[in-house]
Symmetry: C2
Subunit: 322 residues, 2 copies
């Protein structure tokens, strides 16, 4: 009789894509797949497609692996209730009892859910650059801005399971309209979408010639802006400077609250490297209370991809070890 390898299924529900992977206790990544998050208006259709895709990826591996639990990272995910509630960047705006709904497909497996950024923080802590750290902040930069706070070695879920919404601290009263219905949230400035918006602000402000001026808003991406910046485009460079200023100021305030050892940046925008890290670090230090000066490391995530999947899977191992 062959012993099957035990794996956790980690699922990351992002604003654009839902990705998943099978990961064993040691952190080996066995197989993965993905579907579009926004394709289906009805959550039931979405879950059915997700299930079928998981089964498809699982099919050739059934003899080798045994799924022992499912961990899910989702925007506005509630750890205590296993639900997604009022997620501004998803098509389902109410309270979605996702763990209960997944149970219909996987009735015998334990299913856990948390905020996608909290899951990424757990991934960083178990498998990434935050190994051994007791106090750190994970910032995930995607369509929006997510965050996970770890204090005293534990993830801060808060009283209701919704802690860690750094993307929705208001940094500019009466500022940019946010998907959450309010104005001036950090993620309207610091995120892929924020960079895109800022590029047009800079085009309005400055007269520098720029290749970005040939691109309509609806076709612009943060990646296009980053590539232009690498080539010396002043509109693009100023866009990243402004983005780093907004992020650095917000991080300085977050540091005053939790005083972390390090802050990790994860996601597409974090790959812009020094374009983002330099102005962020400068403005973070410039705005820090003296006692925190030159103490807090600003680091790229050590999980080069799928931190949230690792985190969601790590959630399973952590819960099963309790």
């Amino acid at each position: 009789m062959i012993m099957k390898k035990q794996v956790a299924l980690g699922i990351d529900i992002g604003g654009t894509n839902t990705t998943f992977g099978f990961i064993d206790r040691e952190g080996n990544y066995l197989a993965d797949g993905n579907i579009e998050t926004q394709k289906h208006e009805d959550i039931n259709d979405y879950l059915k497609e997700l299930y079928l895709e998981i089964e498809k990826v699982l099919d050739p591996l059934r003899e080798e692996i045994e799924m022992i639990g499912i961990g899910i990272g989702a925007p506005n995910g509630n750890y205590y209730k296993g639900s997604i509630e009022f997620a501004p960047n998803l098509r389902w705006h109410d309270v979605i009892p996702l763990c209960d709904m997944m149970k219909e497909y996987y009735p015998t497996l334990p299913i856990y859910l948390t905020n996608d950024a909290n899951a990424a923080a757990i991934g960083e802590m178990i498998y990434g650059g935050a190994k051994g750290m007791k106090n750190f902040i994970m910032v995930t930069l995607g369509t929006g801005l997510g965050s996970g706070f770890v204090a005293n070695g534990e993830l801060v879920y808060g009283h209701d399971g919704f802690a860690g919404e750094l993307g929705h601290i208001i940094v500019s009263p009466n500022g940019r309209q946010c998907g959450c219905g309010r104005q001036g949230c950090l993620e309207t400035y610091v995120s892929a979408t924020g960079v895109k918006r800022t590029a047009y602000k800079m085009m309005a402000k400055y007269n520098y010639p720029s290749e970005l001026r040939t691109i309509p808003f609806n076709e612009m991406t943060a990646k296009i802006v980053a590539e232009a910046a690498e080539k010396g485009d002043m509109i693009a460079i100023n866009t990243f400077k402004y983005t780093g200023k907004m992020l650095g100021e917000a991080l300085a305030n977050a540091i005053a609250i939790t005083s972390p050892e390090a802050i990790f940046l994860f996601g597409g925008l974090a790959k812009a490297g020094n374009l983002l890290f330099e102005p962020t670090k400068d403005h973070m230090e410039m705005n820090l209370l003296k006692i925190y000066s030159n103490k807090v490391k600003l680091l790229p995530s050590q999980l080069d991809k799928n931190a949230a999947i690792y985190g969601a899977a790590a959630l399973v191992w952590k819960e099963l070890n309790k």
Copy 2:
């Protein structure tokens, strides 16, 4: 042989006064005293006066009580190192190894130190309104604004022991000058000093007649403003509305980070009651992300006085139980 009652000495070093008290394990308050914090330029002279005052209060009780430890709450207090570091509201601006210096007077006793607001949070948790709460924020309103964050039932000290400086998040870039050397810190708006400053801002802005217009800046206090507001003075009323707006907005951002069950307000300014609580609650709710709406209790501290002394003493019991 008579069994002496075991007590902890709790010391609260405030911007104006240093108060202390002897408290037993059950929370009974046995005796107290105080000295001025700012009288001595030399920390050694301050410690000598403090020691003599403690001995004076202790003297008639020596047959009854046994001091088993000392807990200290101090501005910019470092829990890990037992030091006060760069405290903006004290006369000693460097790194003061306070626990080590106290050891010269009390060589046989264990001595613990933390941020004065962290100490207040522990006091609220052990003896006050936060009993049984795992996630809450304590805000202390005095000369400055201090805070203590409790997450997962533990005080958030952060990597370096300096977490919880909500008073020094920057809420208004290029705003009011702060004692910390920066501009726009929350405590320049929300504190006894902040209320005083705002009263003059309101006199400059509005034409309402007001008894406050007869009082020079150097003689104004938050108490005078509160009493005028109670009598319907429009300058004073607008001062508290503005203070509540600034506090409410900052609390909404803090909630997005730690999602607490409750926020406790403690200190002289908190005694202004609805004058402060109503606008604070209104602006807090107005600025909250939907998922947090009407969930977070805004409460007055249940320790009507000396929360920080209780907290400092509770720190001793907590450490000795480890």
